[in-house]
Symmetry: C2
Subunit: 149 residues, 2 copies
């Protein structure tokens, strides 16, 4: 991304990000990127590279956190552990605007998948998260940089 920057607009930035993520980053790179995410239901910065990244995760999981009860949160933690045990990486779900029951249902539906199938689904979820984060960056940029014409 850095070598291809700057991007004149959000659409071109997303196009470049998709191309790099799906065509250039190898499977080791996917696993490394997955490793930088907190598990759903846990927004602590412990495993996250930066404070910004921890803040992003917290914002993305705000609907889930607002709709979680102690028992659904415990169920989510249990299913996350089962998922990680089966697939070898944290469960990636683009959580924006999703309630805890919706996330739980999605996780349970995905659980029977073959590892390679789930690996590609997780990568697509990762790209959705990246797109939402890029949108936030461009929105923030638009706020501080008024259009010149």
């Amino acid at each position: 991304m850095v070598s291809a920057a700057p991007f004149p607009n959000f659409e071109l930035a997303v196009e470049a990000a998709r191309n790099i993520w799906f065509n250039k980053v190898d499977v080791n790179g996917w696993l490394e990127a997955f490793g930088a995410h907190p598990q759903i239901g846990n927004t602590s910065a412990k495993n996250q590279k930066t404070e910004t990244s921890a803040q992003w995760s917290k914002g993305e999981q705000s609907t889930a956190l607002a709709t979680a009860t102690d028992s659904t949160l415990q169920e989510l933690l249990d299913w996350n552990a089962r998922y990680r045990e089966k697939f070898g990486f944290v469960c990636l779900i683009c959580a924006t605007a999703k309630s805890t029951p919706q996330i739980l249902s999605e996780l349970k539906n995905r659980f029977p998948n073959r590892p390679i199938v789930e690996f590609e689904i997780a990568a697509r979820e990762q790209m959705k998260i990246t797109e939402l984060r890029l949108a936030k960056l461009y929105a923030a940029k638009a706020e501080v940089t008024p259009a010149s014409n």
Copy 2:
């Protein structure tokens, strides 16, 4: 495989191996298994877990080695290096009965693939190699154990 053994015949052993490899082994396990293979054109035991495994690779690549010239062997090494650079793991091709030009052509055809696509192709090639090795094990067993009826 060990916990599911013994298998009464080759077909049941292959069925169990396929089920474990495609449905149970996670993507980290696939990468670990890929790492135990020598690159095509190199049959030294350096990266191989056991002497038996090195002997197997050598046998599987005997057609390739017999049909290799210095220049095709060099081309194979160069393409292997490009493949490894792009995908992050050694190029896996079931080499049994394939000539060096056939292997080179297959490697070049696969090179433009997306990383995730190539990852699954490599896993299928790994399974082909495993099936051929299981066949050899059962054939050897049949030689030393005459049928009892």
